[in-house]
Amino acid sequence: MKEFNYIIKRILQMIPVLLVVTVVIFAGMRLIPGSPAITMLGDHATPQAVEEMNEKLGLNEPLIVQYFLFLRQVLTFDFGNSITLNAPVWDLFKEKAVVTLTLTVMTGLFTLVISFLFGYIGGISRNKVVTKTVDTAALIFISIPEFWIGIQLMMIFGLKLGLFPVGGWGTTWGEHLHSMVLPAIAGGLGTSALMIRNIEEEILKIRRQDYVDFAYSKGLKKSVVRNRYILKNVMVSTITLFSMRIVYMFAGSVVIETVFALPGLGNLLMQAILSRDYSLVQGLVYIFAVIVLVMNLLTDISYSFINPRIKLE
């Protein structure tokens, strides 16, 4: 019951934030210098065509009316039509979201496997050299930009060795997953490195706790102590970090999708920005914001399930 109340309260708290988000996006889009109609039609547009476009976009209405028109669109998930792509923004979003979701899931899985593997090795090892090596390697990978790793992976495994496609995401699910391997690695290495350091640090800390010594002195097997006493406690902070980074990966798709020419949301957003497609930009940025807010909420709720000691207030 307490959980339920908390969730309701958090959802209610989201409403004013979402409203302000709409104001920010609306104001931002109006601040763009130049007339959107001229930008879309080109410099040689006739005044008549510009006027028609203004009418079509609702730009002749007073600002406050324009805002409420936008708000109505937002509330009904109807973000209008993209001018350049000639399709409803919501449909474009649905179409491209599959790519970005697949990418995020693949990146997340890669990150989980790599970080737990190496974090565990680094943390549990009694050999100082192993611990230091893992730690230093992780620190190095934190400092390398994703797009550069992406380009190098593409060059070596895509262009030189021909093992993976270098752009696009194919037509079948087999091709989809195949084409996501390099992007997932490129997008996941940085987060993996962060998580490896976190897991390692946590394990080293927990290993020194009294209850671990006690478990050993009770005569429990090494594997039991490691899995049930140490790893379980590492989970809390790691899952927190991971859920924060999932949002980051989702947004990072802008960069990774540009590198690998994947037809996802990030790519769509860049296209929209470069072609000054107003309705598309404001629709996408708003959807991104909603997704982030929902993810943050889920993270907060999941705390209490992983660690019952955390009280939701």
Binding site: P16, V17, L18, V20, V21, V24, G28, M29, L31, I32, P33, T136, L139, I140, I142, S143, I144, P145, E146, F147, W148, I151, Q152, M154, M155, L159, K160, V247, Y248, F250, A251, G252, V254, V255, T258, L269, M270, I273, L274, V281, V285, F288, A289, V292, L293, N296
Partner: protein, 271 residues
């Protein structure tokens, strides 16, 4: 100073030495190369690394090594200035929110809620899209967003600190709020923000390079590492050297900063 540096991990010294070299490249690029980063040589297009051109040449026959060396000052400047302004404003905002509490705090937290609703890179890209691309606008975009982490960090520290006796004492003495915040509380809460600021330089460098890569930051012909990498993208198979070297420099600079930051963080934690 000597006492402070004692007991730092080896990685700290490695990072410090690399940073020193990077600073030399920043202020005296002439020490490292006598080539000009802008001079085009149509007789030497897309040439591989050689004794004359250590990192080869690009599609306009410019020396990649010279461009990377001269790019150091631009990338380092991006990292430092993109960090500096948000660090100061964020710290001040966090101080005020934590110290005054109540309404000031509530307003700030709502603003933070809204900013956190946008993913960092999306918000920066959107701002750049609105005000136009280019290095100046890139700074403005990062400044608008970057302060939130400092504000959060400092605010939580201030909340813990402001009930301490020395703050009560300063209040009794009739000091002004500004004086108590800046002279009494700030020195006790700055450590966390300081450690964060060091790694923030690295993160800002990466964001800057990524924006240039997307075509929203530094544009040609300015020698910036991200922009050089982008410039080399069409020639990945025929001229790998254009995109690989600036990336290595970016990574090495990032690692050096991380190493130094880690050393400082451990020192601060021990205190």
């Amino acid at each position: 100073m000597k006492k402070r540096l004692k007991g730092m991990p080896v990685s700290f010294y490695v990072g410090a030495v690399i940073l020193f070299v990077i600073l030399l490249m920043t202020f005296f690029p002439g020490l490292f190369t006598d080539q000009d980063p802008y001079t085009q040589d149509m007789n030497a297009l897309l040439q591989g690394p050689s004794a004359a051109h250590w990192f080869g040449t690009d599609d306009l026959g410019r020396d990649v090594y010279a461009r990377v060396i001269y790019g150091t000052r631009i990338d380092l400047a991006i990292g430092i200035f993109a960090m500096l302004v948000p660090a100061v404003t964020g710290t001040l905002i966090g101080l005020c929110a934590g110290y005054y509490g109540k309404k000031v705090d509530a307003v700030l937290m709502r603003i933070l809620d809204v900013i956190t609703a946008f993913p960092f890179i999306i918000l920066v890209i959107a701002i750049v899209a609105i005000i136009g691309s280019g290095i100046r606008n890139m700074f403005i975009a990062i400044w608008c967003v970057g302060w939130k982490d400092y504000a959060k960090l400092v605010r939580s520290e201030v909340l813990a600190e402001k009930n301490m006796e020395y703050v009560a004492a300063a209040k009794t003495l009739g000091f002004s709020g500004a004086r108590i915040m800046l002279r009494h509380i700030l020195p006790n809460v700055i450590d966390g923000a300081f450690v964060y600021a060091i790694s923030d330089v690295m993160m800002c460098m990466m964001v800057g390079a990524s924006l240039s890569f997307l075509g929203l930051g530094v544009s040609a012909p300015t020698p910036e590492w991200g922009a050089i990498i982008t410039g080399g993208r069409p020639f990945l198979t025929s001229a790998w050297w254009i995109s690989i070297f600036p990336g290595i420099f970016l990574a090495v600079a990032g690692v050096a900063i991380s190493f130094v930051g880690k050393g400082v963080a451990e020192k601060v934690k021990a205190k």
